[in-house]
C-alpha cells in the first residue's frame, strides 16, 4: 500500500435504504468498475483495503459518511472521486476525497449532527418536547437489539438539540395530494459512544417526556460528522460547530484524550 485516501460520501433519497453491508458490496464493485488501483490484503482470500467508519443506520439519509481506502498506486484524489462517483448509482454520491493524514479518521469523528423531519407535528409540540428533554438529567429508553432489549440514556449523548423551525411540508415525500398540516424540524448534535445511541433513541425519549407523537415515519439525515469545536458555545440550546474531518487544519491539533 502506497497511499491512503479518505472518502466522504452521501446516501440520498431512496438509496438511504441501502444497508451498510449493501453499500460495502456496491462500493467494492464500484472500485473495480472505476479501475481504482486498490491494495489487497495478503492471505488466502485477499480483500481490498477499506476501512469504514460508523455507518448511518439503514433508512437514515446522510450527507457525511466516511471511509478510508488503501491504494497500490498513487492516485489523484479528485480523479478518484469523480471516477467513483460515476461508478456508483445516483443517490450514493462521492462528495470529497483527500489524502489521509494523522490523526486517524476514527479520532476525527467524535459527534454527528442530525436533522429529523417530523411531518404532521406542530412546531409548538416539538418545542415542548425538546424543553422537557433538555430539562432532564437522564432519559432512559429501551432499545431492541439482536439479543433482546438494552436500556440506554438518550440524554447523555445529546450535546445540542433545538427545533430548527417549521419546514416546508412534504419534505419526507408524503403524498402531495394530502399534505400534512404541519412539520417540525429537529436539529440535534450527538456524541458517538459505544454502545451506540441513535437519533431514533432520542425520538423515543422525546415521546417519553412529552405528548409528542409522530404520525409519519420521521425522515432522518446525518448532516455532518466531526470533532466538537471546543471554541464554540457549549450550552445545549445553541449550536456547537463540528470540525470537518477531511480538513487539513485538524492535522495540526492533537485530539484530546
Amino acid at each position: 500500500m502506497v497511499q491512503r485516501l479518505r472518502v466522504r460520501y452521501a446516501k440520498r433519497g431512496p438509496l438511504r435504504f441501502t444497508s451498510h453491508r449493501d453499500f460495502a458490496r456496491a462500493f467494492e464493485r464500484a472500485l473495480r468498475r472505476a479501475g481504482v488501483p486498490m491494495a489487497y490484503s495478503a492471505g488466502f482470500s485477499p480483500h481490498p483495503k477499506i476501512s469504514y467508519a460508523g455507518a448511518a443506520p439503514t433508512g437514515v439519509a446522510s450527507e457525511a459518511e466516511y471511509l478510508e481506502i488503501g491504494l497500490a498506486q498513487v492516485s489523484d484524489p479528485e480523479a478518484t472521486r469523480s471516477a467513483l462517483d460515476c461508478a456508483l448509482p445516483p443517490g450514493l454520491d462521492v462528495v470529497e476525497v483527500v489524502e489521509a493524514e494523522p490523526p486517524a479518521l476514527a479520532d476525527r469523528l467524535e459527534a454527528s449532527r442530525w436533522r429529523i423531519v417530523l411531518d404532521g407535528v406542530e412546531p409548538a409540540v416539538a418545542e415542548a418536547a425538546v424543553a422537557a428533554f433538555l430539562a432532564a438529567d437522564c432519559v432512559e429508553v429501551e432499545r431492541k437489539t439482536k439479543d433482546g432489549t438494552r436500556t440506554v440514556d438518550a440524554r447523555a449523548v445529546v450535546v445540542a438539540l433545538r427545533v430548527a423551525g417549521p419546514g416546508a411540508t412534504g419534505v419526507s415525500a408524503v403524498d402531495e395530494t394530502a399534505p400534512t398540516a404541519f412539520c417540525a424540524i429537529l436539529d440535534v448534535v450527538m456524541r458517538h459512544i459505544t454502545p451506540a445511541v441513535r437519533p431514533d433513541d432520542v425520538l423515543t425519549a422525546l415521546r417519553h417526556v412529552s405528548s409528542l407523537s409522530t404520525p409519519v415515519t420521521p425522515l432522518v439525515t446525518r448532516l455532518a460528522q466531526g470533532r466538537l469545536d471546543e471554541a464554540s458555545p457549549a450550552d445545549a440550546g445553541s449550536h456547537p460547530r463540528l470540525i470537518d474531518p477531511l480538513n487539513r487544519d485538524v492535522a495540526t491539533t492533537t485530539p484530546p484524550r
Binding site: 431512496p14 435504504f17 441501502t18
Partner: protein, 640 residues
C-alpha cells in the same frame, strides 16, 4: 396518459418492512423509460423474492432485449414479502415495478417466468395486489395480458385459468414477436378488444392461449380430449428455439443490485440444450438440441460483463458445462486472462469424469480449492442405467481420487430418491458409494480430514420426459428410505464422521408433483391454498403441506381425482396427458420407448457423438445440433 409513480406513497412505509432496499430499484443498468414515448409496455415478473428473482437470467435477458427497442419499455416486478404485502393492503398500494414504481395493472403485458411450479401461489398474490382479476375470463380491456414463460410453462394447465397465454421455450424472439403483434393491434385501434389480441397471438402460434381449448374428461377422471374451440387455432402449440446464440449475446449489461441476492456473479450461458438423455431431466428434454455459444463470443461477453458490473466471479452456465466442445480452451483462456486479478471462475461441475477435475483445477488456479460437486444421481449401478446416467462406480472413484489428490478437500455428491423401479437397497447403495469415496480419497490425499457431502432430493416425474408416465414415490416411503440411509451412514465407525448428509422431507415434492403433472382441475387447489394464506411455497419456512393436503381434499371431494391420483399413479401410453397439445418436439412414441428402455435398464448414447436416435426434436422444430470446435482462440483483451 402518464402513469404516476407509487414511490411517494410507498416510501414512508418502507422503514417498517424488512430489507426495504429490495423495493427501491435503482440497480446499475436498470432502465426507466418515458411511459408515453413507447407503444408497448411489459412488466416482467419473477414470482419469488427479489433476492432470488433479480439474478434470474431469463428475466434479465428479456429485460435487456425489450428495452433495446425504441418502441417498447420493460420494467421488473417481484414477489413482495408478507410484511410488505400486509402494509400494501392496509394502504391500498398495488403491485408495483421496482424500476419506476408504476402499477403493474397499467402495463400492456405481464410476463411471468416460472422456473418452478412452486411460484404459482405467488402469481396469485401479485395479480390480486395488482387489482387484476384472478380468473382470466373476468379481465377487462384495461388489464394487461398475463403471459407465463419458463420451464414450468411447458405444462401451464394447472394455472390455465389465471393466465391469458403461455410461451414455450426460448423467450428472446418470442417476446419481440409478441411485442410486434401488440403494437400493431394497438395501432389499429385494438380491434376485437382483448379477445381479438389473444386470437392474434394464438393464430400466429407464438403463444398458447388456454381459453381457446376445451378439455373433456372421461368418467374415471382421465382426459378424453383437448380441442381448440376457435377456428384457426392450432391443435398443437410448439416451443421456440433460438438458433445461433452468438447473435443473442445477452445479458450484455446485467443488473447489479444494491441488495444482496443469491447469485452475485456474471453468468454467461456457454450453451443451451443437453442431449445426455438423463431420463428424469426435464430441462435436458425440453431445451434440445444443443446450441453452443462460440468461444469468441463467450470471451467477449465475459470481458464486457466484468467491466460493466465489477463482479468478482464469472459463472459458465449450461446444463452440463464440461460438455462444451471447447471448454478446455475457454477455461484456460479465461484463467490466463484473469491471472493475478481478483476474478474467480466457476463451472457447475456435475459431470463425473477426471476431465472435469482438470477443468476445475484450471479455473481455481489462483484460488482456494474447497468443494467440487458431482451428480451420479443414482446410488446403484442398476439405478443409473434406469435413469441413463452413464457413470460406473469405478468412474466415480477415479474422479474423486483425482480431485482429492489435486488438493480438493470436499466433494459433494447429488442423488435422487424415489426414482422409478427404485428399491430400498438402491438407496442404501449411496452409503456404500460414499464410504468408497472417502476410502479412496484418504489414500489419494494422504490425509484423513477430507469430506464427502451427500445431497439428496426426492424425484418428481416431469412432463415431456420419458418418466412422465411414472408413478411418483409416496413421501412416507421416501422418508423411510432416507432414514435408513442416514442410519447406514452415521452408523459407520470408520467413515461416518467424514460423510455429511443433506436432505429434506419428501412432502414438498408431492406438491411439486401435483403441480407439475396436474391439469386444469388443479387450478382450484392452487386458488384454495392461496386463499388459505399460501405464499412462497418454495421456502420451507412458508410452505405448509397440510394446507395443500386439505385444499386438495376439499376441491377434489366427490370427483374421481385426488392428490394421489395426480402423483403416485402410473399412466398408460393411451392416456391423454394434460400437456399433449403442447409440443416440445419430442416424439411421444420415442419417449415411450425410452421409458420402456429405462425399465429394462437399457442405456442410450448422446446424439452429439453417436448417430441420431430419433427423439424427434430437430425434424419437428427445424433445428439442428450446433457445436464446434471453431478452432479459434479466445480473443485477447482489447480496450472496451
Amino acid at each position: 396518459m402518464p402513469v404516476e409513480s407509487l414511490f411517494a406513497r410507498l416510501e414512508p412505509l418502507l422503514p417498517g418492512v424488512s430489507k426495504p432496499i429490495q423495493y427501491v430499484g435503482g440497480e446499475l443498468h436498470s432502465a426507466v423509460k418515458d411511459w408515453d414515448a413507447v407503444d408497448v409496455r411489459w412488466a416482467l415478473m419473477y414470482p419469488d423474492a427479489y433476492e432470488v428473482g433479480l439474478p434470474n437470467q431469463g428475466v434479465q435477458i428479456l429485460y435487456e432485449v425489450l428495452n433495446e427497442r425504441a418502441d417498447t419499455l420493460a420494467e421488473r416486478t417481484y414477489s413482495v414479502w408478507p410484511d410488505l404485502e400486509a402494509v400494501m393492503r392496509a394502504h391500498g398500494i398495488p403491485q408495483f415495478t421496482v424500476d419506476a414504481h408504476r402499477p403493474v395493472r397499467s402495463f400492456d403485458l405481464l410476463g411471468v417466468s416460472f422456473a418452478t411450479e412452486l411460484g404459482y401461489t405467488n402469481l396469485l398474490t401479485a395479480l390480486d395486489l395488482a387489482g387484476i382479476a384472478l380468473p382470466a375470463d373476468e379481465r377487462t380491456d384495461d388489464d394487461p395480458l398475463v403471459i407465463a414463460g419458463g420451464h414450468a410453462a411447458f405444462n401451464p394447465e394447472p394455472i390455465a385459468e389465471f393466465i391469458d397465454a403461455a410461451v414455450l421455450g426460448d423467450g428472446e424472439e418470442a417476446a419481440l414477436r409478441i411485442t410486434d403483434i401488440v403494437r400493431d393491434w394497438k395501432a389499429e385501434g385494438r380491434p376485437g378488444g382483448r379477445d381479438g389480441l389473444l386470437l392474434r397471438l394464438a393464430h400466429d402460434g407464438v403463444a398458447y392461449v388456454p381459453s381457446f381449448y376445451d378439455v373433456d374428461y372421461l368418467p374415471d377422471g382421465r382426459i378424453r380430449r383437448v380441442v381448440p374451440n376457435r377456428p384457426g387455432v392450432p391443435w398443437r402449440v410448439s416451443k421456440h428455439t433460438v438458433m445461433n446464440l452468438d447473435a443473442w449475446p445477452y445479458p450484455k449489461k446485467p443488473l447489479v443490485p444494491l441488495a444482496e441476492t443469491v447469485h452475485e456473479r456474471y453468468s454467461v450461458e456457454i450453451f443451451r440444450g443437453c442431449t445426455r438423455g438423463c431420463r428424469f431431466c426435464q430441462a435436458g428434454m425440453i431445451t434440445r438440441p444443443v446450441r453452443e455459444r462460440s468461444i469468441t463470443t463467450v470471451g467477449e461477453m465475459v470481458q464486457r460483463g466484468i467491466a460493466a458490473t465489477g463482479f468478482e466471479e464469472v459463472g459458465l452456465l449450461s446444463l452440463s458445462s464440461a460438455d462444451h466442445s471447447e471448454i478446455g480452451e475457454i477455461a484456460k483462456g479465461l484463467a490466463d486472462r484473469y491471472d493475478g486479478e481478483q476474478v474467480s471462475l466457476s463451472l457447475p461441475s456435475t459431470r463425473v469424469d477426471a476431465f472435469n477435475v482438470t477443468l476445475a483445477n484450471e479455473l481455481s488456479r489462483n484460488g482456494r480449492r474447497t468443494g467440487l460437486t458431482f451428480a451420479p444421481e443414482g446410488g446403484s449401478e442398476r439405478m443409473r442405467k434406469v435413469i441413463n446416467k452413464m457413470v460406473t462406480e469405478d468412474d466415480l472413484i477415479r474422479t474423486v481420487s483425482t480431485a482429492y489428490g489435486n488438493g480438493w478437500r470436499q466433494v459433494k455428491l447429488y442423488f435422487m430418491c424415489g426414482l422409478p423401479t427404485e428399491t430400498d437397497d438402491d438407496v442404501l447403495q449411496i452409503a456404500e458409494m460414499a464410504k468408497h469415496v472417502i476410502k479412496a480419497g484418504r489414500e489419494a490425499a494422504g490425509r484423513k480430514d477430507i469430506r464427502c457431502t451427500i445431497s439428496i432430493g426426492a424425484f418428481v416425474p416431469k412432463p415431456h420426459t420419458p418418466f412422465q408416465w411414472a408413478a411418483q414415490l409416496d413421501h412416507e416411503t421416501v422418508d423411510r428410505r432416507l432414514r435408513a440411509l442416514k442410519a447406514a451412514v452415521m452408523g459407520d465407525r470408520d467413515y461416518g464422521r467424514s460423510i455429511g448428509l443433506r436432505y429434506h422431507d419428501g412432502r414438498p415434492s408431492i406438491v411439486e408433483g401435483l403441480l407439475s403433472r396436474g391439469d386444469r382441475r388443479v387450478g382450484g387447489v392452487i386458488r384454495r391454498v392461496w386463499e388459505d394464506g399460501g405464499r412462497f411455497d418454495g421456502w420451507s419456512e412458508h410452505f405448509s403441506y397440510e394446507r395443500w393436503e386439505s385444499a386438495a381434499a376439499e376441491v377434489f371431494a366427490g370427483t374421481p381425482v385426488s392428490m394421489d391420483w395426480y402423483t403416485t399413479r402410473e399412466r398408460e401410453l393411451a392416456e391423454v396427458l394434460p400437456w399433449d397439445h403442447l409440443d416440445a418436439g419430442l416424439d411421444k412414441d420415442w419417449m415411450w420407448e425410452d421409458w420402456q428402455d429405462a425399465v429394462r435398464e437399457v442405456e442410450v448414447d448422446d446424439c452429439r457423438w453417436t448417430p441420431c436416435y430419433d427423439c424427434g426434436v430437430c425434424p419437428t422444430m427445424g433445428t439442428e445440433i450446433q457445436i464446434g470446435p471453431t478452432g479459434r482462440p479466445l480473443l485477447p483483451l482489447s480496450p472496451v
